[in-house]
Symmetry: C2
Subunit: 304 residues, 2 copies
């Protein structure tokens, strides 16, 4: 059963004492789109003032770590590129350091935004697609022909990497499908079904890759939460004590599951995002958090 | 076990004698995209010369019956609008005659091409979306806001109808998702995973609706094959004897299943499309045809 902390200062202090490191999801925890939840910057400062390390772990691949840092700074949240982990970065690391494809077959066809491209560049991974205007247009009869006979395909593509793409179209889906049919490795930055924005929900990265699952009958290796590839990447950088680490997030199937499967000391759910109390109290709940608060700023307790 | 007819004239004659009506799939049977398979027009004439009735039953919703007729004529195939059944038509019939939504909540948000729009018009069903240029653009910050708070949504929309859309984009998916979240009925013209074109395969209608399944956790009522709603619509028009009717197609999960579940007298698979012999010989085959030929024109036998 999840322990409710909001308004209970003794419980909050006991909770904080258990952990040295907090892994924090961003969308639905820190902000919704461009709207930072009230009291969040002060809460992060409060945690740091108590000697806690904060690490931001987000499945949103539309921004690179550098772009996230710019957003944090513009929202009055102090951070450092080294404490930001996005699924685009996680994907780039996986491709460059784990897949290690041979030259001549190591190009990535990107379905996604600039965040993915920037992280691939930082790992010197060659890619096509992405934000290239050549792929942001309607499909033509020549495309159908050249994709079907392969003459329009780049023989060096060995990976299809799909993430959230606000410019998804039939031409990109068709390219990705043809590469997958020809044996490209299928990766997804993450497979979140929805994406929180403007206090509402919109199609998530999983909604971009899912048609490709359906067409090919295969599922991608997903590099975002709850994939432990992301946990390993974080640990590779910080060597933290998992038992003294807590994952904070709004989604049971990504954040809370990520913390539990990573054998962290704790998980904390916030109710400012996708999932609510009823979701983990349901019989078929995908994961149950150890603690929960109404909103992140409740962790400041009396200081609130 | 499926009986192989190619090259066996006695078997072909016996096969033809069993049926008065042939329901024919189009993509992968008659043509692939704009390419009509050799000998097909002559084969259709041959069947008609033997007194057989031919009915075209297609899941492709991008064209209306009238547009199909134009295509048939341009390819040298005689036909009539009354013997063409498309999933767009089947969907329009379902909305107007079965759903019968109340005025003020009877508008359809269309994700798809003009074929759907034309059939909805023919049934006097009001709709928005579709090929409207207002929806063929990138999503903006104003869209995110107006979709999240509902101010950009049409309160009269009571149905989301998704079909193959060569102009699919994030804006349309976002609109469809918001309408579904608000209780709109979820329909799909069909849920084919792929679409045959230019001797290759491309994303099918199911690849358009599947992200919406994933986001909403619900599946659409699909009006194309193998849905028996389409069989009922055909029978409503022709009053044929199901036992003297054979379904001819290339897909086990749509065409062959459609014929078997419709309790037709027979099913015939052709190998010019998606599925091959190994697919129905697999242990988990979704459906097994009664007969098969390499290609439709093999039915002409010696006359070939």
């Amino acid at each position: 059963m999840a322990q409710y902390l909001t308004g209970d200062n003794a419980a909050i202090d006991a909770f904080l004492d258990q952990f040295d490191v907090f892994l924090l999801d961003c969308d639905g925890v820190i902000w919704s789109g461009d709207h930072v939840f009230p009291g969040v910057p002060e809460t992060l400062e409060y945690l740091r003032s108590k000697g806690k390390k904060t690490v931001f772990v987000t499945n949103n691949s539309t921004k690179s770590r550098q772009e996230y840092l710019t957003k944090f700074t513009s929202k009055g949240i102090k951070s450092d590129v080294e404490e930001i982990f996005g699924s685009a970065y996680s994907s780039a690391i996986y491709i460059s350091r784990i897949l290690k494809l041979p030259p001549g077959k190591n190009k990535v066809f990107v379905v996604g935004e600039s965040g993915i491209e920037n992280e691939l560049r930082s790992e010197n991974v060659p890619f096509i697609g992405g934000t290239d205007p050549a792929f942001r247009r309607d499909i033509t009869p020549e495309d159908f022909k050249g994709l079907a006979d392969g003459t329009l395909l780049d023989p060096e593509v060995g990976v299809v990497l799909a993430g959230l793409d606000f410019h998804i179209n039939y031409l990109k889906l068709s390219h990705a499908f043809q590469y997958l049919r020809r044996g490209a490795v299928f990766l997804a930055t993450n497979v979140d079904s929805t994406f929180p924005m403007s206090h509402g929900f919109f199609p998530g990265a999983g909604s971009i890759s899912f048609p490709l699952n359906y067409m090919t009958g295969t599922t991608p290796v997903a590099l975002g939460k709850p994939s432990q590839a992301m946990m390993d990447a974080i640990e590779g950088k910080f060597h933290f004590d998992r038992k003294r680490t807590c994952m904070i997030g709004d989604r049971l199937n990504t954040d809370i599951k990520f913390g539990i499967e990573g054998k962290l000391g704790g998980t904390l759910a916030v109710l400012t995002g996708v999932h609510q109390k009823a979701d983990w109290e349901a019989e078929d709940a995908v994961a149950v958090p150890a603690f929960y608060v109404d909103k992140l700023s409740d962790l400041r307790g009396l200081a609130n």
